[in-house]
């Protein structure tokens, strides 16, 4: 069955994620991030941040509500049972701290097929409450048996 490519270029409604201090701490502990900038508000303030700094990979948390729905969008048509997360890129422009409200917009960058595998490439762009870009991410999923 040929892979549907009609969703290429489709953009989704932005999703706002409010970054909480305890959520940053919970995430930092789960990934072993021990920097006091992420765990100790006084240390973060002493270093010039208004609140605890989100570890860079916390981008996963604020992007997920925007990117997750694409996997289940029937217009894209991913066979979730056969899907593998194959590649991931993040580019960070500026720090994210507790108290920020991050707006993430996801889109379908590309859908292609080779060697019986379908490649779904999603992009997400995240901005803070001042409209400054904080992170751009590229999510690559492969579906076998396409």
């Amino acid at each position: 069955m040929p892979v549907k490519t009609t969703a290429i270029g489709k953009s989704y409604d932005p999703v706002v994620y409010a970054v909480g201090r305890e959520k940053v701490g919970e995430y930092a502990r789960a990934v072993g991030e021990a920097s006091p900038l992420c765990l100790d508000v006084e240390a973060a303030r002493a270093a010039g941040y208004p609140d605890v700094l989100a570890p860079p990979m916390f981008a996963v948390v604020y992007c997920a509500p925007a990117v997750g729905p694409l996997i289940f969008d029937p217009e894209i048509g991913i066979n979730f049972a056969m899907m593998v997360h194959a590649g991931q890129e993040f580019v960070w422009d500026r720090p994210v701290v507790a108290g920020d409200e991050i707006t993430t917009t996801a889109s379908v960058k590309d859908i292609s097929e080779r060697d019986g595998r379908a490649f779904y490439v999603f992009e997400s762009v995240s901005e803070n409450q001042r409209g400054e870009r904080v992170c751009t991410a590229t999510w690559t999923n492969i579906v076998r048996g396409a």
Partner: protein, 132 residues
């Protein structure tokens, strides 16, 4: 003040070794919101042909990221990272992240990096840029 690492082309970054404990995937699921049952449900994971619950690829990617930021002097220094996921990571086995600085570009160190578990690369072809 934290030390800003001196990294030069050809340098290896300090190895990061971490052993995810038995319940790590549950804590990471809660922290990240990714409750895919292959990560949290032993029975389900086996029913789809896996050896058991597997690590979240994005947790392993966070270990790769942490190896870079610890080499560079702090979590604020990571500017870019791209990875390919391969195979699967398992709880209760040591993950080892290694990396080599390939060049210094625009005040950033560019680092080729991988994560291995029991000799298998579970993250490969990864590249990171950290601000110096």
């Amino acid at each position: 003040m934290r030390r800003v690492a001196e990294l030069r082309a050809g340098d290896q970054i300090p190895e990061l070794r971490v052993t995810p404990d038995r319940y790590l995937t549950l804590r990471y699921a809660g922290a990240s919101g990714d409750f895919n049952p292959i990560h949290v449900d032993e029975e389900f994971a086996r029913s789809v042909g896996l050896p058991g619950r597997i690590l979240h690829g994005l947790w392993t990617m966070a270990q790769v990221a942490r190896a870079q930021t610890e080499a560079a002097g702090g979590p604020e220094r990571l500017k870019r990272i791209s990875v390919q996921f391969r195979g699967m990571g398992l709880p209760e086995q040591e993950v080892v992240v290694t990396g080599t600085v390939t060049e210094i570009r625009n005040g950033c160190a560019v680092i080729d990096t991988v994560a291995e578990q029991a000799g298998n690369q579970i993250i490969r072809n990864a590249e990171a840029e950290v601000e110096l």
